[in-house]
Symmetry: C2
Subunit: 193 residues, 2 copies
DNA sequence: CGGTTATTTCAGTATTTTCTGAAATATACG
DNA sequence: CGTATATTTCAGAAAATACTGAAATAACCG
């Protein structure tokens, strides 16, 4: 089963891209194929279309399911499992925020917290802890931001991200509204205007 | 040369984490070591401390430099190159936004734009293009957001990220201020209040 | 149940990536 | 320059990862 060139380019690019990221070529290609397919596909079809062994596809699908990036569908009158990707592309952003939190952020934060509890035995260790504290605070801030991304529904999420460069202005407005005249925040807003 | 256990745990964790990400163990460990070190280190020291071959360290440092995550320093009276990481941890966020744009976002966007120019030869391709359009728009939005992250100085960047869940409220305020009564944005703000 | 079809597991192989040591190149200093 | 020291390159070894085919398991159906 072969793909139209348009789809093939997309699928191949995703395979390459995936491997720069933690994901491997197979998984990237499977995702891309499911993403553009007009209907759910079964493992056999994927295997034939991409030219991977059936077992490789099985493992790839498992991986994608564990990331919630592939969803199993049952088609009436067919007992094979069929797969799609979430329909709302913005769900990808939420899902990745969720999964990266679990797999990368949480373990790192708890490692850092543990190390920050220990008392430094030397100046060298004291300095190291200081740096770890900075990194801990950074990651914690990102973690909270991710939490918000996960919470927001698509419309608001787009709004938040589109806000972008305008954030400066919006923050000023916020400062003016929520701070007493002459307060620090008010002053900052004026300086950065 | 051996590390205090505190530092060792940190360095090892970063090595593991790195490998979940595109980066390899060596590079992750070198970065972590430089990050907590109280002064710039030379390649020899890194090599001895981490137990990697001198040439491996050389390659790792090159990689880190290409990401702007390691900076070369010249120490007076010593002709060996010494290395540090950027002092402001928040620079990491900006740097990663910059580099990921170059390496991942830009190539993907141009691939998508190219494919979106072609005229679909079938219903299947038409649908695929529709999906690609959605992904294109998503990535473009993220790209713009990243651009803003790169632009903002630390103070404002932290403010932007901390804003988080409060964004809803702030957006409402913005809507009320910048939209004529009865306009669409005003209406949205009320509905989502 | 027994047969059929679908899926997963897994041991072994193939491929890719990482890492090393030796040689080549570059840089500094007298 | 010539010598000493620092760094990079690179071919091959080692390690890690991805992939396959065969066999095991599971799910369905008559």
């Amino acid at each position: 089963m072969d793909m139209p060139p348009l789809i093939q380019s997309f699928v191949l690019h995703f395979g390459e891209m995936g491997s720069r990221w933690g994901i491997n070529r197979t998984v990237g290609q499977i995702y891309a194929l499911l993403f553009v397919a007009p209907r759910p596909l079964n493992a056999e079809e994927i295997s034939e279309t991409l030219g991977f062994s059936r077992s490789n596809v099985s493992m790839g699908l498992k991986e994608l399911q564990s990331w919630n990036l592939a969803l199993m569908k049952h088609m009436p009158g067919d007992r094979r499992d069929h797969f799609t990707t979430p329909g709302d592309v913005w769900a990808i952003v939420r899902i990745l925020a969720e999964e990266r939190k679990k797999r990368e952020i949480d373990p790192t934060l708890s490692m850092l917290r543990e190390l920050l509890m220990q008392s430094p035995g030397s100046e060298e260790e004291r300095h190291a802890q200081e740096r770890m504290r900075e990194m801990h605070d950074l990651i914690e801030t990102l973690d909270n931001w991710y939490a918000d991304v996960r919470r927001l529904e698509t419309e608001r999420l787009i709004q938040l991200l589109t806000l972008g460069s305008k954030v400066q202005k919006v923050l000023e407005v916020k400062d003016r509204l929520f701070t007493l005249p002459g307060g620090r925040a008010r002053k900052d807003a004026e300086e950065n205007g």
